[in-house]
Symmetry: C2
Amino acid sequence: MPDTQDLDPRKAAILEAVVSEYIGTAQPVGSHHVARAAGINVSSATIRSEMVALEREGYLVQPHTSAGRVPTDKGYRFFVDQLAEPGVLGPAQRHKVSRFFEQVHGEMEELLERTSGLLSELTSYASVVLPPSHEAAAVRSVQLVGLGPRVVLLVAVLADGAVEKQAIELPEELPDDVLAAASARLQAAAQAHPLGSVQITEPSGDTQVDRVVALAQSALGDLACEAHDRIFVGGPSRLAGAFDAVETVRAVLATLEQQLVVVSLLRDVLERGLSVAIGAEHGYEPLSACAVVVAPVSVDGRSGGAVGLLGPTRMNYPQALAAARVVGEQLGDRLRTTFDAGPSARSARETRPRRRARGRR
Amino acid sequence: MPDTQDLDPRKAAILEAVVSEYIGTAQPVGSHHVARAAGINVSSATIRSEMVALEREGYLVQPHTSAGRVPTDKGYRFFVDQLAEPGVLGPAQRHKVSRFFEQVHGEMEELLERTSGLLSELTSYASVVLPPSHEAAAVRSVQLVGLGPRVVLLVAVLADGAVEKQAIELPEELPDDVLAAASARLQAAAQAHPLGSVQITEPSGDTQVDRVVALAQSALGDLACEAHDRIFVGGPSRLAGAFDAVETVRAVLATLEQQLVVVSLLRDVLERGLSVAIGAEHGYEPLSACAVVVAPVSVDGRSGGAVGLLGPTRMNYPQALAAARVVGEQLGDRLRTTFDAGPSARSARETRPRRRARGRR
DNA sequence: CTCTGGCACTCGATTGTACCGACTGCCAAG
DNA sequence: CTTGGCAGTCGGTACAATCGAGTGCCAGAG
């Protein structure tokens, strides 16, 4: 990729003006508008000749001859990388965030759900909250609860505040005391170990108990794995306002319904070290009309969680970035202070295994 | 309401033809089309004069002079009440449903989530699943788990398979053994009682324990109350295809995001003894372009849950009704057989209080 | 009295034309 | 290198003509 970063200052200023105006108006912007913009002191004719250069280099396109220019994905990319100011939240929004995190209470799912609502409300884009993976979280409590005649529910409470559950179907009906025994053994073995690495060492005397314990252990493994990650989507209805083609709206919404896709999208973007993915940069074709802004949610240094925003490529990047970062940070703080610093967290932290290595290509 | 039900057979047949065709094509239908329809053996001129009568009586409207007719909400209402055949699922769909309920497994939230996906897929409308209220469900297990220094999580497992949780903030840091004692007292008191009516009778000796127990008890009460009901929405993206005005899509999606509104909408409709609400019949203005189809989900006779479909007023009512009923029934069966018939359910059932009286006007 | 075919009429949708205006590209002069 | 000027392009709008689906009405047949 040769010609990145090297745009002479005037071209850069013109590009900036085009992007800014297009973000505001959604209309192709012509040379006169650019000439009128602040910081530009050349005539429209000069701008025109610069714009053909910018178009040749792929930063702008004309929807048709005799129309203004529109930024390409590359144009937006240059804008966010080189031009956009860090961006700050307005005082009103800042206030909203701090009030939210002062007032919010309750258990974790509710917190995440409402956080995604907050983020969407701040930006008027759709938002996504991806909580940190539970794989490394210490187990605080495990329990087997009998439900149906041959159905028991495995309930695990983790140090990060999450409650995970999985139904287990038994091959035969078992008396309550077997369940209780198995439950106790699980609790003893799992307590304070990370969810991803619970090991039952020695068998008990009772084969029935051992069988149940084995089933439960494999269920715990399932819970730790990635396919169990959940996302919280906020304000999807705002997407309807962001695009004019109803088919685009439909496709984007449909993609948002596929949790796994969204999870890997966010992780991919974060892992590539990006905080913004524009148009086709992430490889997800149905979202090529969208831009994605992500910010990590890190609890105690270890990350894994993220908050994201999904909007049209002509989104307000500075504002979206600022909002995502602030909310991501605050959410991380909140998760840490509320859930993660319990009295027995220390021991859990010592036994935590090597830094989580996610096996994504 | 005088003139309901009394339409001479020919008018009824014409109305039926108009509704059927309009549901299929979304285009205003003219007298010629009706004349060509099966079962109509009069000329288009006759139909025209009948149609002016139907329009005068409010069953049809013309978008403009010299256009065909479109059914009004009243027209649809007559159609579903008097004309539509019961409606059956196609064999392919029937097969999908039975395969789904054979294969599906896992815990309840997952089941509900996937059920709403199924219903949406069957009908191509957006679907809603409202699980039965937990108020009357017996408690199987209650537990207090310490998380942060002053935060404990109350986790309740109910006989219907639900796991409810609530974070409790303590006024002071407490030693683990106080929590354990409180947890044990709660478990003893709540076990097998309905969630809505757990009572701790006598105080223990320890004031610290009693204080925690009191907090937990009020938290249990919160969990039982209606505001805690959750819905599972399936396939909202399908709404984007159902309306052409993007603003309508936005408004409907925004309404679907408000869980409480949807819950009361469904309950209202069910309580009025309806299974279909068309246009403005439910009082929810933003949904006046929609029709809602609901079917109860009853577990062991007591109902409270529901499945619903949300689509344009020109939805395929017979098919939607059939799908909702079948899925609602199957879901009820599934909930009963998997979760509700456990060994200790008997005692719970005996202590169940008077039939739940929901206080909705 | 009801039904029907015929007929005049209405009105949205489509097509064609003209025009305006917002652009651009190019060029010659500063 | 920059600039103002100018011709040219093309989408959007306004307007008229046309088309056609569909209506309402009516006179005549059954």
